[in-house]
Amino acid sequence: MTGRSSSQETGDTMTGNPAAEDPGAGNRPPRGPRPGGPRDGSAARAAAPRTGRPGPLWAVPGLLYFAFFAALPMVLVAYLSLTSWGGLGTPRFIGMENWSRLVADPLMRQAVWLSLMLTALSWIVQTPISLLLGVWAAGRQRSRAVLSAVFFLPLLLSSAAIALIWKALLDPNFGPLAWLGPRLGLGSVDVLGGTNSAFLMIVFVSAWQFIPLHMLLYQGGARQIPPSLYQAAEIDGAGRLLAFWHITLPQLRHTITTSSVLMVVGSLTYFDTVLIMTGGGPGTSTTIVPFLMYRAGFESWELGYASTVAFTLVLVATVVSLLMVRFTGFGKMRSTREGM
């Protein structure tokens, strides 16, 4: 399904389109000259010197902010990663010791693997669901507004609240599962106590929490697709599936990139739910990289080593998002409306 009305009042009258299947076709913004079109562009260029173009000076506040709150801390963390420091006294410079320890640390290796798994599984679970929900929510169905509001709810809760709610729901002795388990013949169900099940629950809860956000992105993206594309497709006899495949998906490619980068970076730095729901356990089964960083820094008080883990995370997240932007062609700024 395209989930998107292909009918438009003007379109119906002009073409006698049989696709008046959607009685709720709402108001569309009136068609006007498209901003950024070639003719408008030349006019804007002529007017440019008078309105004043942004000079490099305009970037100073942003740069200062970035320097103090992003660049400087990163430099300090890079320095700390070369020291041994317990939070008291002076950090002791120890060269590359933390880094060689990091490479040899089996816990770090496991954490990297778990983080990659979490990222991959999160993307695989969240992208299709939020894409379909988003495209559906962009339509004009009657149930849409109510259901969208319901789906949207998790986004309004804080991560800590979500983690606590799910922890209580999954309690093996006093939660609903404790009641349900024996009635389904499963005996006791200790979901957060099992190695794999605890990890899958983290994937599930993060999906539950973040799908609404990505649904919102896709909804916005889908609403931007010009209806004329669907009208043209309909004239050519394309069904909903084909229209979805050949119009909706390609038109959403920038949204997919945006949403994917958010998902990937978000999963790589995911932390609060793990801390509250499983505390990295059972054992170390859910100790992903950010949690390992917390554990090293604020439980073991090895802030030097924690900085090493943190800096690795910064590097990996930066490289991954750069690669994603590059390989999806997002950076080329090619419009999805080319040729229109």
């Binding site: 006294g89 002076t90 002791r92 093996p172 957060l192 099992g194 356990g281 059972p282 820094g297 008080w301």
Partner: protein, 426 residues
């Protein structure tokens, strides 16, 4: 060595950035000339508030208590100690919890003060006072009641099953089978808080090999984990787990949220190995059960074990330490002596604590639960050795991975042999 100046600036800034609490002030040494006493925030602080009131009435220096929320007390303290906001006197657990500060010469040795006040020094149970030492130097003065680990049991469940509380290890193994046949989980266990699992190993290692085994480890010899007593204790844990002593869904049970205690008071579990605070936790949850049907015994001896069966593990008490750079050294040392005064001890008893002073014996009779208080007091008084909880005795960079290894052992994720190897590698 790099320029230390840059280092400390980098360090302080990074810590501020890492810990939101770091630069938010919140009462500290500078800015006013009151003496700041940091307390772990709970209902028992009224005892220390009383002491501060009496102190302020007599002293020129004004003392004030800063209550720090319990959940991240240690993080807050550590951050403050690294800044200029450090307290003058602060609550701690002794042992490894203050070792990092001792290493940085941040704490005031109290040996001279005790030598000058022999009466004050003699007012504490010796094994408890000793727990306030780091490498033989006194840094802590007991300020709270004692918290030994006790085997609690549900008397109703025991009556219904027609069994008696365990007196030997064989009794325990027998109970594990009998109680399961009755459909009851033999032991409640809060596996999501692995320090509760640690209590089992602490007792087993002490009973099998005596306190010397862990003493060697505390001194920094990680090969001490290869002592046969540790392996044997781990094997006994594995046996308990395999026999279903803890049921099959304990790995995600939490203690701090009250789940394990509720299992005991609801009769779904028969026993619970826990610190003496379990009594007040259950009193809070189900007063009638706590008063009528909550039983308690010492951890049973193990046949052939070298440890004295009267040895106790747990938290001997909490301590006050004084920071070396305080502007109120004399006042701080004077304040410490208030912890053995009669009013102070009476306040502790009234709030359900079991004081660690030698004269507390008559006082505990006035406790709101005198039987339990007397049991606890005698248990601690007669103990030749009181082993501080391992995770408090060891420095945090060892304690954190150790606790994780204990969790893995109890979850069956590692064998006793792997457990020993992993600990020896720490």
């Amino acid at each position: 060595m790099r320029t230390p100046r840059l280092g400390s600036v980098a360090g302080a800034t990074a810590l501020c950035l890492l810990a939101a609490t770091a630069c938010s002030g919140g009462g500290g040494g500078d800015g006013d000339d009151r003496m700041h006493v940091w307390m772990y925030q709970d209902t028992l602080v009224v005892v220390q508030e009383g002491a501060v009131e009496r102190f302020n009435a007599e002293s020129e220096t004004e003392a004030v208590i800063d209550e720090v929320p319990g959940d991240n007390y240690e993080e807050r303290l550590r951050t403050a100690m690294g800044s200029s906001e450090r307290p003058d006197v602060f609550f701690n657990w002794g042992g490894g919890s203050i070792e990092p500060y001792v290493e940085q010469d941040m704490l005031q040795p109290l040996d001279d003060m005790l030598a000058d006040n022999p009466e004050f020094a003699d007012s504490f149970i010796p094994s408890i006072l000793e727990a306030g030492q780091v490498s033989g130097v006194q840094y802590g003065i007991p300020l709270r009641g004692t918290q030994p680990v006790i085997l609690f049991y549900n008397e109703t469940v025991f009556e219904e099953a027609g069994v008696e509380p365990p007196e030997t290890w064989d009794d325990i193994l027998g109970l594990v089978d009998t109680l399961q046949e009755e459909g009851v989980t033999p032991f409640a266990l809060a596996g999501a808080d692995p320090w509760t699992e640690q209590m089992w190993l602490q007792y087993l290692v002490d009973r099998i090999g005596g306190p010397e085994v862990f003493a060697r480890i505390v001194e920094g010899d990680s090969e001490g984990w290869r002592d046969p007593a540790v392996l044997e204790a781990a094997q006994m844990v594995q046996e308990l787990v395999d026999d279903g002593a803890f049921g099959d869904s304990y790995a995600s049970v939490s203690y701090t949220e009250g789940a394990a205690s509720a299992l005991l008071s609801e009769g779904r579990a028969a026993m619970h190995l826990m610190g003496s605070w379990e009594y007040s936790t259950i009193l809070d949850q189900d007063e009638e059960f706590a008063r009528e049907n909550l039983g308690y015994v010492e951890f049973p001896p193990i046949e052939g074990g070298e440890g004295d069966p009267d040895n106790v593990v747990g938290n001997p008490t909490n301590f006050f330490s004084v920071t070396a750079e305080t502007d109120h050294m004399d006042a701080a040392l004077e304040f410490l002596t208030y912890t053995s005064e009669e009013e102070y001890v009476a306040d502790m008893v009234e709030n359900g604590e079991v004081p660690t002073t030698t004269n507390a014996e008559e006082a505990v009779a006035d406790s709101p639960s005198p039987d339990f208080a007397t049991f606890q007091y005698e248990m601690v008084r007669d103990a030749p050795h009181f082993q501080l909880s391992w995770d408090q005795a060891l420095p945090p960079e060892v304690a954190t991975p150790m606790v994780t290894e204990i969790e893995s052992l109890f979850n069956g994720q590692s064998t006793p042999e792997q457990f020993v190897d992993a600990l020896a590698a720490l």
